[in-house]
Structure formats: C-alpha cells, structure tokens
C-alpha cells in the first residue's frame, strides 16, 4: 500500500483487540437479527392475512355452535376439521336483511393414508352456483372453461399439479388448477364442487375404508358477503340471535385471532430486541469510553501530527459504526438463514399463517436495520468521540509518559 488513510487506521485499531471487536459486533448482531426475524414474521403473517382474506372473499362465516375455534384453525393453518349443521340455516339467513351473497360449504377430512398425500388434508365442498370465494379465481385462471363435478382446485401446499388425478374415499378427482400461495389454510385445502363431494360421501360406504356419515342436507359453514354500507358486526349479531345453533365470526375476527396469536410471540421478540439494543447502546458507549481513554496518548500524537478535532471525531465514530454495521449485517444474515432453514418448523410450531414478504420489502428492511445498526454505533460512540476530539493534545500526549 503506497499511502494510508483513516480506513487503514480504523481497521488496524479493530485488529488490535479482536475479542472486544467481536463482542461489540455480536451485541448488535443479536439485536438486529431479532428485529429482522420478528419483522419478517410479522410481515409474513400480515401478507398472508391480506392475501388469504382477499381469497376468502367473505365478510362473515357461520359455523355450528362450538366449532368456531376449529373452523378458525382450519382457515388459518389448514388444520383439517369436520363438523356439520343443518342446511336449513341457509334459508334462515337468507331471510335476514343486508345479505348480498351467501354460499354454503361442507368440510371433510381426508384419511391419513390417502393415495395422494401424506397427512390429513382439508376438503371443502363448494356450491359453484352460489360460490363467491373460489369462482372468481376460476373465472380468471381457468378462463371460464367448463368443469365437471370431479374437477377440483388444490391449494399450493398440496403436492399435486394441474392435470394430476387423486383419489379420496375411493372417488377419483382431477386437479383443474392450483391456487397461488396464501400462507393460510387455503394452501392445504382442496376445493371440490358440491356435486362431486356428495357423490364421494355416498360412495364412501362401498369404496372407502371409512364411511363418511354426512347427510346430503348437512353443511359445515355458510360464507356470507354483506351489502355495501352495512355494518358487518350488526349483521353477524343478527345471525347469531335469529338462527339457532350457530356461531358466527367475521373475517376481521379471524385476523384478530391470528393477530393475538402472533402478537405474543413478536411482542416478546421485539421487547427482547429493544432491551438488547438499549443495553448494547450503553455497553458500546462504555467500551468506547474505555477505548478512547486507553488511546488518549495515540490520539494526542495524531493531533500533534496535524490531525484536526474533526479527524479524531471521525476516527472514533468510524470504528464504532464499522463494528456495529458489521454486527447488523451478521445478525441479518444469520436470521435470514434461520428463517429460510426453519421457516416451516417455526410456522408449524407457532400455528400461524405465513406468506414471505416480497424481495423489495426484505431489501428495504435489511437497509433499514443496517442504518439502525450504524446509527447505534454513532450514538454509542458520540460522547467518547466528542470528548476525545476536544481533549487538549498536550494533555493527551503526556498520558502514559
């Protein structure tokens, strides 16, 4: 190297005490990694809810009394469930005002040893004549092509592709299309036209290992879209009071349920992150106070050679922000690797819907946390940098003599 500069001095200073440098970087790495993790998780859940809710298309979901929780779990995580109520509730609800659209659904659990897939999946029978949840997707993605009662739509997480055949309870179905990923229960759901589902139920007695005991008049849920300008909660209350034996939840309550579920986890992570960050700020500040104190003579010598107060100030800040910036990057990378490697396990353990934020969001978050890490270094070392730049060179040089 023909000449040296401030960066060379900073790097040499860092190399002098590598363990101390590692401690500083690690403090920020833990804080930035936790923040990255919690934010990605939170954004992933929000994304999933936004996409999932749009796909669901219903304002209100009516289920049999006592099955609200399992129904919500089915919508959120795709946890297969099955419960029934009388189909008469459809007529009762239709009599109520403010109902714009209404469509019934039937929920069936697949068997663990189903020929297509490992594990239980969630079959949802829908009525193509009244449906407003899957039909809009079919209109855009299947180009309104004719489809029969055994043509089904699979969620993204079902390991089936367009054109595949699958047998449930002895009945063969064709995969007409695969829905885009939502991160919600929809991804683990297979939507079957009601006619095909009723045939499957009837034939299960002779074709399947287990007979499905579902009456043709029974349904599992009613999806409702209320008229514009109507109060969704008012309509929900009306249904609960006028229709016996049902329980109602709204799409926003579904979000609320997920929100409550994730709030605890992200709240804890964010709380820990803030504590770590504040502690790091004080600890790095303390370390840099010690650093400038032990380097007083050196800084004085630099001043004697012609270094300005600004140069000394920049030197201290550069060292701190380089270490915290590096720590921030390490934290983000580690957190990213953990999220990529264990995302499915984390989502399963937490029981939350998750749809990865788009790359631009991740880039912006990374840049944001990097800036925060750099600011941490600057803030923590500000006071030591000011005091070291303002100390009298004469006094500083005499230190250690």
């Amino acid at each position: 190297m023909d000449s040296i500069g401030i960066s060379h001095l900073v790097l040499q200073n860092i190399r002098r005490k590598p363990y101390r440098a590692v401690v500083i970087a690690l403090c920020v790495a833990v804080a930035s990694g936790s923040l990255f993790f919690a934010t990605i998780l939170l954004r992933g859940v929000q994304n999933s809810l936004t996409v999932g809710q749009a796909r669901l298309g219903a304002d209100i979901i009516v289920v049999p009394e006592g099955h609200e929780i399992s129904a919500q779990e089915a919508f959120i995580t795709g946890e297969a469930t099955s419960f029934m109520m009388s189909g008469d509730v459809v007529m009762q609800i239709l009599e109520l005002p403010s109902i714009e659209k209404l469509s019934e659904q039937v929920f069936v659990q697949t068997l663990t040893n189903a020929s297509c897939c490992i594990g239980e999946f969630f079959l949802v029978g829908y009525n193509p004549d009244t449906d407003f949840t899957i039909s809009p997707w079919l209109a855009t993605n299947i180009n309104n092509q004719e489809f029969g009662p055994f043509d089904v739509i699979a969620g993204d997480r079902i390991l089936l592709r367009q054109g595949d055949s699958v047998v449930f309870y002895g009945t063969t179905f064709n995969i007409l299309g695969v829905l885009e990923k939502t991160g919600m229960g929809i991804d683990r759901t297979i939507y079957v036209p009601m006619e095909g589902l009723r045939v499957m139920i009837e034939d299960s007695a002779t074709l399947a290992e287990k007979t499905l005991e579902i009456s043709p008049t029974e349904i599992s849920s009613v999806m409702i879209r209320v008229q514009k300008d109507s109060d969704i909660l008012d309509v929900a209350e009306q249904i609960e009071s006028k229709v016996q034996g049902v329980q109602v939840f709204t799409a926003s309550q579904l979000n609320q349920a997920v929100g409550d579920q994730i709030k605890g986890v992200t709240g804890t992570i964010l709380g820990i992150t803030i504590v770590i960050w504040v502690m790091s700020l004080f600890m790095i500040g303390l370390i840099f106070s010690l650093i400038v104190n032990e380097r007083k003579r050196e800084l004085g010598l630099l001043r004697a050679m012609g270094a300005t107060e600004k140069f000394v100030f920049r030197l201290v800040l550069s060292e701190a922000s380089l270490l915290t910036g590096l720590g921030g990057l390490i934290g983000i990378l580690t957190s990213g690797i953990v999220l990529i490697s264990f995302s499915r396990l984390i989502i399963k353990r937490l029981g939350i819907p998750f749809l990865s934020p788009n790359p631009m969001e991740i880039i912006l978050l990374t840049v944001g946390i990097m800036i925060l890490s750099l600011i941490t270094g600057i803030l923590a070392s500000l006071q030591p940098a000011i005091s070291s730049s303002r100390m009298e060179p004469y006094e500083a040089v005499r230190q250690g003599e």
Partner: protein, 236 residues
C-alpha cells in the same frame, strides 16, 4: 515579528489552578527563534520546558501573552488552522515511544501525509527510514523495536512532511549515551543540511553543544546562555 523569526513569544504565561492558588508552568516568557536556529532548552523536571514546546506547537493554549508561530498568533485561530500549521510546518519528536502501535515503522512514517492530503509515498518513507539507519526495519512494529530504534522512527516521521520546524521533547531521554549522541548528530544534520529549525528540550546540559543557542529554564522563567561561554543573558 521579524521576517526571519518563525517563533515569537511575548510575555507568554501558562498557569493552572491548584486549589485556591494559581500555579505557573511558565511565566512571562519572551523568546524569538529565527529560521535555521538550533535551540537547545535545558532545565530540571517541572521547569516548564515541555509546556513551552507545547505552546509553540499549538498543543496547548497560553493563559496570557502572544504566541506567534509562522506569523500566526495561535490564540486567534481555530483548530483547523493550528492543525494545518502542525501538519505542514512542524514535526514533533517525543521522549517516550510516540509510534502508533498498530502501524509498522513504514506506515508510521507515512502517517503525517494523511493530514496534509499529500500522501507520503512508500519510496519517501523508506528513504527517511534508511537515513535514520533503519534500512531493514520497515515492517516492524513499535513492540519489535528498541527504544533507540523507536526514537529514530519518530524522527523519520517528524521529517515526513518536510517541516520547517522540529520540536523535540526529550528525544534522547530514555536512550543510552551512544544512541543519544547518534540521535543528536541526526538533529544536527537536519539543521545543517536542510536548514530546518530545531527546538530541542532536554534535561541534559551536555547536549547544548549540538545547538547554536542554549536556553535554560527554571521555575517557568527562561534565560539564554551564550554558547561560547559568554555571560548569561536573561530573556524573561
């Protein structure tokens, strides 16, 4: 200030509060140093030698009086200007190791170039190290150099920006006699061959023979001894 004077102190004092009292490190000192002078300042510890050198180098401010260096009253200017004077016109040599421990001998010599924005190239840095007799020590760090070698690197570094004034504070204080004399010869050579003004502070009166002026400090006051045994002239 005379045109050829590069340092002029007029009634300069430096005092510190000590309890209820005020202690003077130097008191009402007046001094002129001309270009090309080799001034040796002797005196006992605590006599104010280092303080005076630091005042001239702008490392500390005086409590009273005028301290002009290169025509600039150091009390009137901001840090940027004082630093610029130090970077471009003054080279410091200190008694104890004044090397930056994280830099090699070569990088230590290059370092002053950072502050003048005129980098000291590798060739120049090596040339200076060669001149002080450290041809094979370019890559060594201060911990790997003897006291004498460290002092030589300090001298080489002080010369890196071709200063007009060298301020040396006990540069031979921790060296053996032989090395001390070698160092003093180097200072003399700089003064003679390059015309660089040297202000050297030492507690050893024997070294006064290397300079063309000998000042003695005692209790913050300064007096001048003529080199050839002429009567003492009290300056302040």
């Amino acid at each position: 200030m005379s045109k050829k004077n590069i340092v002029q102190l007029n009634n300069v004092s430096k005092s510190y509060p000590q309890g209820d009292e005020v202690v003077y490190a130097i008191k009402n000192v007046s001094l002129e140093v001309s270009k090309g002078d080799f001034v040796v300042i002797t005196g006992r510890s605590g006599s104010g030698k280092t303080t005076m050198l630091s005042l001239i180098g702008g490392l500390t401010n005086s409590s009273a009086g005028i301290c002009e260096v290169f025509g600039v009253n150091l009390q009137d200017v901001e840090d940027e200007k004082t630093s610029e004077i130090r970077a471009k016109k003054i080279g410091f040599v200190f008694q104890f190791s004044s090397l930056i421990p994280t830099l090699s001998a070569l990088d230590n010599v290059k370092l002053p170039g950072v502050f003048t924005k005129q980098p000291v190239g590798e060739a120049r840095a090596k040339e200076l190290l060669d001149w002080v007799g450290l041809e094979k020590q370019y890559g060594r760090y201060s911990a790997q150099l003897s006291g004498g070698q460290q002092s030589r690197v300090s001298l080489a570094r002080a010369l890196a920006n071709q200063p007009e004034l060298i301020l040396a504070d006990e540069p031979t204080g921790n060296l053996d006699i032989e090395t001390e004399l070698e160092m003093m010869e180097l200072f003399k050579e700089i003064n003679k061959t390059k015309g660089t003004t040297v202000l050297l502070v030492t507690h050893n009166p024997e070294l006064a023979k290397f300079g063309n002026r000998h000042l003695v400090m005692e209790n913050g006051l300064i007096s001048e001894k003529m080199i050839n045994g002429s009567p003492e002239a009290v300056l302040a």
